[in-house]
C-alpha cells in the first residue's frame, strides 16, 4: 500500500467532500492510498480465520476504521461493491463481513454438497444441521444477545439434541393417534422430523472415517465448514469433535441467518410467538400442583409453545459464561498492548 501513499491522484468525488479526517481535524481528501487501505481491510475481512489480535497491520486498519469515519465509509463502500455486507468491525471480530445473496462469495447448497443438489431429503438434512448447530451454540435468546458469550458444542451433542426433539414429536404424534407415515406418492409431505429420525446416526465405513450420509456425518460436515468459515474453533476430539464459537458466528447467526430463516417461516404462515424469553416457561396449571413459591421448578413445558427446548448439551462446561468473558477480555487486552 505504500506505493500509493505519495500518489497525487485526485480523490473520488463521492468521498472527497464528506471526509473530515479524524486525525488532523481538518478536512483532507481521500487518496488512492486510502482506497488501497480500505480494500486491504476488506481483504483481511475475507480471511475469516485471521484475527486483528494476531496481525498488527490488520489491527491498525481496524483502528482506522473505528476512528476515521471517512475511511470507514470508504471500506464499507468497497465491501458493498464486492457484494459483501459488513456485520461489525471491531477488535474482537475483525472486519466481519457476510456474502450478499448474489455475491460471488456466496455458498450455494449444490456446491456445498453434491447429494443435496439432487436429493430433497439430503438438502433438508444439511440445512437442519446448520440450524441445529447454531441452536446448540446459542441455546437461549440471551446467549445470542450477549456479546461475551462463547458457545461450546459437540458433533454428537447436536445429533442427540435433534434426535431428542424428533422423539418428542414422535411421542406426541403417537399420543394423538396420528399416523405420521407419509403417503408413498407424496414424499414432500412427510413431516420434517421423520427425515432426521430415519437417517442412521452413524455407520461403520471401510476406512474408519465418519459415514458421510449419517446424521453425525452431516453435522460433522457442517461444523467443519463452519470452522473454515472462521465461525467455530476446534477444541477437542471428544464426542465426535468439540468446538467453541467465535464472535463472527454469533454476529452471522444473529444478524443474518436467524432473521432470514424467520422471514421464510413467516412467509409460510407459521408465526412463532415469543416474548423474548426462553421457550420453556412454567406451565399454566401451576396452581394445581400446589407449589410453594421458590420451592422448585415445575418441569413442564408451556402449552402455548408446545416446543420442548434443549438448552445446552452435557459436554458444555459449567464455567462457560465466565470463560467466555475472560477470553473476550484477553483478546481486547492483547489488542491494546499491540
Amino acid at each position: 500500500m505504500t506505493e500509493y501513499r505519495d500518489a497525487e491522484t485526485a480523490p473520488p468525488a463521492a468521498y472527497g467532500d464528506a471526509a473530515p479526517a479524524a486525525r488532523s481535524g481538518a478536512p483532507s481528501p481521500v487518496t488512492a492510498a486510502d482506497a488501497a487501505d480500505a480494500a486491504r481491510l476488506v481483504s483481511y475481512g475475507l480471511q475469516p480465520k485471521l484475527l486483528p489480535a494476531r496481525d498488527a497491520e490488520y489491527a491498525e486498519l481496524i483502528r482506522r476504521h473505528r476512528e476515521e469515519p471517512a475511511f470507514a465509509r470508504l471500506a464499507d463502500a468497497v465491501a458493498a461493491g464486492l457484494g459483501l455486507i459488513v456485520l461489525e468491525v471491531s477488535p474482537r471480530a475483525g472486519m466481519a463481513v457476510a456474502a450478499a445473496e448474489d455475491s460471488v462469495f456466496a455458498v450455494r447448497m449444490g456446491e456445498y454438497s453434491r447429494r443435496a443438489a439432487s436429493d430433497a431429503a439430503d438438502r433438508f438434512l444439511h440445512g437442519l444441521a446448520h440450524l441445529a448447530t447454531a441452536t446448540m451454540a446459542f441455546p437461549r435468546p440471551e446467549d445470542l444477545a450477549d456479546d461475551g458469550y462463547i458457545g461450546r458444542i459437540t458433533v454428537n451433542g447436536i445429533d442427540g439434541f435433534v434426535r431428542q426433539a424428533c422423539r418428542r414429536l414422535e411421542e406426541r404424534a403417537e399420543e394423538q393417534g396420528e399416523n405420521t407415515d407419509p403417503a408413498s406418492d407424496a414424499p414432500g409431505l412427510e413431516a420434517a422430523w421423520r427425515v432426521w429420525t430415519r437417517r442412521s446416526a452413524t455407520g461403520a465405513t471401510k476406512d474408519a472415517r465418519r459415514l458421510a450420509g449419517s446424521t453425525t456425518g452431516i453435522v460433522g460436515k457442517a461444523v467443519a465448514f463452519l470452522v473454515d468459515s472462521g465461525f467455530l474453533q476446534r477444541t477437542g476430539d471428544d464426542a465426535g469433535g468439540t468446538f467453541r464459537t467465535t464472535a463472527r458466528y454469533q454476529l452471522q447467526v444473529r444478524d443474518m441467518a436467524g432473521s432470514a430463516a424467520m422471514a421464510e417461516l413467516l412467509e409460510l404462515g407459521v408465526v412463532p410467538v415469543s416474548d423474548g424469553s426462553a421457550t420453556l416457561l412454567p406451565p399454566d396449571d401451576t396452581g394445581e400442583l400446589d407449589l410453594v413459591a421458590e420451592a422448585g421448578l415445575p418441569f413442564h413445558e408451556s402449552d402455548s409453545h408446545r416446543g420442548d427446548g434443549h438448552r445446552g448439551d452435557g459436554h458444555r462446561s459449567h464455567g462457560r459464561e465466565s470463560h467466555g468473558r475472560e477470553s473476550r477480555h484477553s483478546q481486547e487486552d492483547q489488542h491494546s498492548h499491540s
Partner: protein
C-alpha cells in the same frame, strides 16, 4: 431419496368397492389401524426372511446356512451386550456369532463363517441404503375413505457413536419386538411373572425352561436400563424436558425397589442353582445349571450397574438444574433459535421446512472466496510432477546407546542364593538367626538380602498370591524372641512357607467373577 432402500413390500390387496351402497370393506378406522399395526409387525420380520431368500445371490455356496437363525441370534447378542452408555461392539458380535455359524457348516473355512456373520450383521443394519434402515409400504383408508399407500420406515440394528469415535450397535424397539413378542407389556409386571416362573422351574428342576425364563428376565432388565438412560440423557440436555416432579422420581424409586428386590431374589436363585449344579449327576443337567449361574450373575451385574446410575440420577439432576435454570439473567432479548425456528420447523412437511433451512444455510454458512487461477500458473501447476509421498517417513536417527553400569546392590546370583535359602519346606519353619548364619557362610553380603526378604515376608502379599493362584507363599512371624546377631537387631522372626489351596482359590475366584 435417490437411492431407495431395499423395499420390503407389504402391500395389502384390497378390492375396490364398486358402489356407494355396497358394504364398505374397511369396517372402521379402529380395525384399519389394527390391521396397519399388524402389517408393521409383519414388516419387521421381513428382513429376516429376506436374508434366506437373498443368500442365493451371494457368490459361493451359502444355502447350507440358516440366515434367519443367525440374524435372530445376532439381534439377541446385540440386545444382551448393549451397555448402559454405549452399544455392543460390532467386532465382538461377529466373534460371538462365529460358533453358531460354524456349527451350521463345520467343514467350511473360518473365513467363510466370518463372511456369513458379517453379511448378516450388515444386512440387519442394511448397509448400502442411505438411511441404513428398512422401508415397508402398507395401505390404509383415510378419513374420507380413500385408499392411501404409506411408507413405514424402521430399523432393526442401528449404529450409534460410542466413546473414542467408535461405532457401536444397539437394537431398536422394533427388533426387540421381533425377538421377544411380548415386550410391549409393562416392564415391572412382566418381570415379576418371569421371576415367579423362574423360581418354580428351578425348584422343580426344570433347568432348560428356567434358563429361558432367566434370559427373558434379563431382556426386561436391559429394557429398564434403557428407559432410564434415555431419561438421564434428556435431563442432561434440558431438565424440563423430563418430568422430574413426579414421573422420574417415581420411576427411580420404583427402579431402586426393583433392584433391591431383584438382587435378593437373584442371590437366592443363585444359591439354589449352585446347589443344583453341584448335586446334579447328569452332565447335561450340570452344564445347564452352570449356564444359568452365568446368566443370573450377569443379571446381578446389570442390576448393580443400574443401581449406581439410579443413585447418580438425583445429583445429576440437581447439578443440571443449577447449571441450566440459574444461569445468568438475560442481558437483552434475542432470537430464540429453538423456540422460534427449530421447534416450528420440525413438524412442517419437509418441502416447506427445506425453505427455512435453505434460508438459514444461505445466510449462516459463511462465505468462500472463489479461487482465481491465472492461465500461466495453471500450466505450471499442471506440469508440476506430483510430489513423491514418503511412505516410511523421515529416517530415524540411530539411537546413541550407552551401557548403564549395573548399580544394583545385589547381583542376580545373590538373589538366587537367598531365595534358595528361603525355599523352606512347609512343615519346617526356621528362625531368622539361623538363616542369617547360613547366609553369612555363603557370602558376607547375603545376610542383608535375606533379612530384607524376611522382613518383607512379615506382611506377605496374600491378595496377589490369591489372584495369581500361587501354590506357596513365604511368611514370617514375630513371636517376641530377640535377635542376637552381630549385624542386625530386632526380633528373631520365624520364617516359613505356607502352602495355598490353589484348586479352592481358583473355584472361589470364578464364583466371584
Amino acid at each position: 431419496m435417490s437411492v431407495a432402500p431395499p423395499n420390503v413390500c407389504v402391500v395389502t390387496v384390497t378390492t375396490p368397492y364398486p358402489t356407494t351402497g355396497a358394504p364398505r370393506p374397511a369396517p372402521g378406522p379402529a380395525a384399519d389401524e389394527g390391521l396397519a399395526r399388524r402389517l408393521k409387525a409383519l414388516a419387521c420380520t421381513a428382513p429376516l426372511h429376506d436374508l434366506d431368500v437373498r443368500k442365493a445371490n451371494l457368490a459361493g455356496e451359502y444355502s447350507v446356512y440358516a440366515m434367519a437363525e443367525v440374524a435372530l441370534s445376532a439381534i439377541d447378542m446385540v440386545t444382551l451386550n448393549m451397555d448402559f452408555d454405549t452399544g455392543a461392539d460390532p467386532e465382538q458380535i461377529v466373534t460371538r456369532l462365529l460358533p453358531r455359524v460354524a456349527a451350521q457348516s463345520p467343514r467350511r473355512p473360518v473365513e467363510e463363517h466370518e463372511r456369513v456373520a458379517r453379511w448378516v450383521l450388515e444386512n440387519l443394519i442394511n448397509v448400502g441404503s442411505v438411511d441404513r434402515g428398512f422401508r415397508a409400504v402398507y395401505g390404509t383408508f383415510g378419513a374420507d375413505g380413500a385408499y392411501v399407500r404409506r411408507d413405514y420406515d424402521f430399523k432393526l440394528i442401528e449404529e450409534v457413536p460410542g466413546p473414542g469415535g467408535g461405532v457401536y450397535l444397539r437394537t431398536t424397539d422394533e427388533a426387540v419386538n421381533v425377538l421377544v413378542g411380548a415386550l410391549d407389556t409393562d416392564v415391572t409386571s412382566a418381570q415379576i411373572a418371569a421371576e415367579v416362573k423362574l423360581e418354580v422351574l428351578i425348584s422343580r428342576g426344570r433347568l432348560a425352561d428356567a434358563q429361558l425364563a432367566a434370559e427373558q428376565a434379563r431382556y426386561r432388565t436391559v429394557q429398564y436400563a434403557e428407559t432410564l438412560r434415555r431419561a438421564l440423557e434428556a435431563t442432561r440436555r434440558n431438565v424440563r424436558a423430563v418430568d422430574w416432579l413426579r414421573a422420574v422420581p417415581d420411576m427411580i424409586a420404583e427402579a431402586l425397589d426393583h433392584v433391591a428386590d431383584r438382587y435378593r431374589h437373584e442371590n437366592a436363585i443363585l444359591t439354589n442353582i449352585r446347589k443344583a449344579r453341584d448335586e446334579a449327576e447328569d452332565p447335561e443337567h450340570k452344564r445347564r445349571a452352570a449356564e444359568l449361574v452365568d446368566i443370573v450373575k450377569d443379571c446381578i451385574r446389570r442390576h448393580t450397574q443400574l443401581q449406581s446410575r439410579l443413585l447418580e440420577a438425583g445429583p445429576l439432576f440437581r447439578a443440571e438444574q443449577d447449571r441450566q435454570a440459574f444461569a445468568s439473567a438475560p442481558a437483552r432479548a434475542g432470537l430464540d433459535l429453538y423456540g422460534q425456528l427449530v421447534s416450528p420447523v420440525l413438524p412442517l412437511p419437509v418441502e416447506q421446512a427445506s425453505r427455512v433451512t435453505d434460508a438459514f444455510f444461505a445466510r449462516g454458512a459463511g462465505f468462500r472466496t472463489p479461487p482465481a487461477v491465472r492461465i500461466c500458473d495453471l500450466v505450471d501447476v499442471l506440469l508440476t510432477p506430483p510430489t513423491e509421498r514418503e511412505h516410511l517417513g523421515a529416517a530415524m536417527p540411530e539411537p546413541d546407546l550407552v551401557a548403564t553400569p549395573a548399580d544394583s546392590r545385589f547381583t542376580e546370583e545373590q538373589l538366587e542364593s537367598a531365595l534358595e535359602l528361603l525355599d523352606l519346606p512347609d512343615d519346617a519353619p526356621r528362625r531368622l538367626s539361623g538363616l542369617l548364619a547360613d547366609a553369612r557362610r555363603r557370602d558376607p553380603e547375603l545376610p542383608y538380602l535375606v533379612a530384607l526378604l524376611a522382613v518383607h515376608a512379615a506382611s506377605p502379599p496374600v491378595g496377589t498370591a490369591y489372584r495369581q493362584g500361587e501354590p506357596r507363599l513365604l511368611f514370617s512371624v514375630d513371636d517376641g524372641e530377640e535377635l542376637t546377631d552381630p549385624e542386625f537387631g530386632g526380633a528373631d522372626l520365624i520364617v516359613g512357607t505356607a502352602r495355598l489351596d490353589t484348586a479352592g482359590m481358583a473355584a472361589a475366584r470364578s464364583e466371584i467373577a
